[in-house]
Symmetry: C2
Subunit: 280 residues, 2 copies
DNA sequence: GGCAGCGATACCGCAGGGGTATCGATCCCG
DNA sequence: CGGGATCGATACCCCTGCGGTATCGCTGCC
């Protein structure tokens, strides 16, 4: 299945084989074996191009989930063994620089519980928390709707906030105390930066492409772009940047999420602390 | 992992090996290999008994999920291939004899959609739908809260109904037009039948053990037991049985559930039909 | 103390997965 | 329109790793 995912993503046997650290012929054979075993044609291949069939794209999705589940089983078992012998701990994945205040309060509240264990923070890039939770590198995560997908997780809503547009401090837009989405590009005279997707591609648009927050704020400070972010990051803005509320930006909801069959008391404790902090 | 799950369930290498159709020594070695690979002790074994460690029980849970995911990937791919070449179809798992009317209306409503495909019904025993959905034998299922677990699925609530107690038609209880849970055993003079759990064990209690509905209703008709069931089964009761509403029984909610990353248009259509039928 | 039950170890055989060399088809370019 | 380049499939070989049989060693129990 790992082999198939690699081929399906590359759509090229040679490159997939390279990525898997093996030669191309055994990979070809492995895929045909898989096709025979499943009784399904997974790839349409001519000697020039490879394309996914309907069944192939189903398998791509399902196989990713299955591989994540296997990976998660290994990771969680390893951590359970560590926790049993050494110091117990729970891994919380969160987006670096988001919901800072909420996170601090959450950690404080949880630490005050009688049976609290150490919380290891896993600071992730944009949208990485989801993967961390799916493949077992994290036990629990703070996700941000509507950006992250909570499909397949148990969740609890924590807070909802509106968004602000960030521009250089001297910028004319800072005179206004609110704007609308439609007005931003024209009023600011700045394109909205484009975040990199998880697969390495970028959305279409005029703005510059950014990979992380350092890049983003640098570009904004240089007057090359602006960005729309949740209100709570205002408290951590650089001095040379200013935020203006956006009236009609989609509200951002922070949720705490965990794998549905999690039996860990530590995860339950964190969730309890979080809901006590943010009674819905 | 299949090996480990077998051993963890049997807690006996010999029986597990037999179940897996292999000899005991290679199984022993496979488990120690797994322990070395994960760097975790999974089983405490003396020459007389085998017990799960903390890490072992984590792996048992995770490995079951992972194996289900792999199985689901294979099943769904096979069905996708069939659907592409032959007649497309979607598999709906439902508990035999439950929500009969709702099911009929759902099928009718969906069939009226322009792009409806064939719906294959998978009639399951008590609580089996969940497994069918998890391991890919079904694409979508009707589940009944609070009996089934929807953990890890996307769901949509369809209807909530109260429960009734079923007794033989001539029984004295039928004179009353309602009862309370606490009164049932004493008023009816009948113990409540005990359903078999998925793992083959039975809950504690005085009532007889039953495995399916034929058994159950036979026992009730013979005056050996009674049972509490959702109101909607009243329409399908045998003539020799009568139902009396139970005031304080937990309400039963029927939900339609599907795997969270399902991209199938047929599943979406069924869900749409269901929600149109039962606007929440 | 002997025996029965059970998991671990030792040793063997083979199937299956991976490697190299090469083929055959398709597209591109002059 | 033909030759080379690209890419997946096939042929053949090797070796690792998994499973089987035989046996050991430990532990309770009668």
């Amino acid at each position: 299945m790992r082999y198939f995912v690699a081929v399906a993503e590359e759509l090229h046997f040679g490159r997939a084989a390279q990525r898997l650290g093996m030669a191309q012929p055994p990979l070809s054979r492995a895929i045909s074996r898989l096709e025979r075993r499943l009784g399904a044609k997974l790839l349409d291949r001519t000697s020039r191009a490879v394309a996914l069939t309907e069944a192939g794209s189903v398998l791509l999705r399902e196989a990713r989930a299955a591989l994540d589940a296997v990976e998660a089983a290994e990771q969680r078992t390893r951590r359970a063994a560590l926790a049993a012998t050494g110091r117990p701990g729970v891994v919380l994945a969160t987006k670096a620089g988001s919901s800072g205040e909420l996170l601090a309060k959450l950690l404080d509240t949880y630490a005050a519980e009688p049976d609290a264990v150490a919380v290891d923070l896993l600071l992730c890039g944009v949208g990485e928390q989801e993967r961390m939770l799916r493949d077992g590198r994290a036990d629990v995560a703070l996700l941000h709707l509507p950006f992250d997908s909570t499909a397949g997780f148990d969740t609890e809503e924590l807070q909802t906030e509106s968004q602000v547009v960030v521009v250089p401090s001297g910028h004319g837009l800072t005179a206004r105390d609110q704007v609308r989405m439609a007005d931003i590009s024209e009023l600011a005279g700045l394109p909205v930066a484009r975040w990199r997707h998880r697969d390495g591609t970028y959305p279409d648009g005029p703005g510059p492409e950014v990979r992380d927050q350092a890049q983003l704020y640098q570009l904004v400070a240089l007057g090359r772009a602006c960005c729309v972010v949740p209100e709570s990051v205002r408290t951590q803005l650089r001095e040379d940047l200013t935020a203006v509320p956006v009236l009609d930006a989609p509200p951002v909801t922070t949720v705490i999420a965990w794998p549905p069959h999690s039996r860990s008391g530590a995860v339950a404790g964190l969730v309890r602390a979080a809901t006590r902090l943010c009674p819905s």
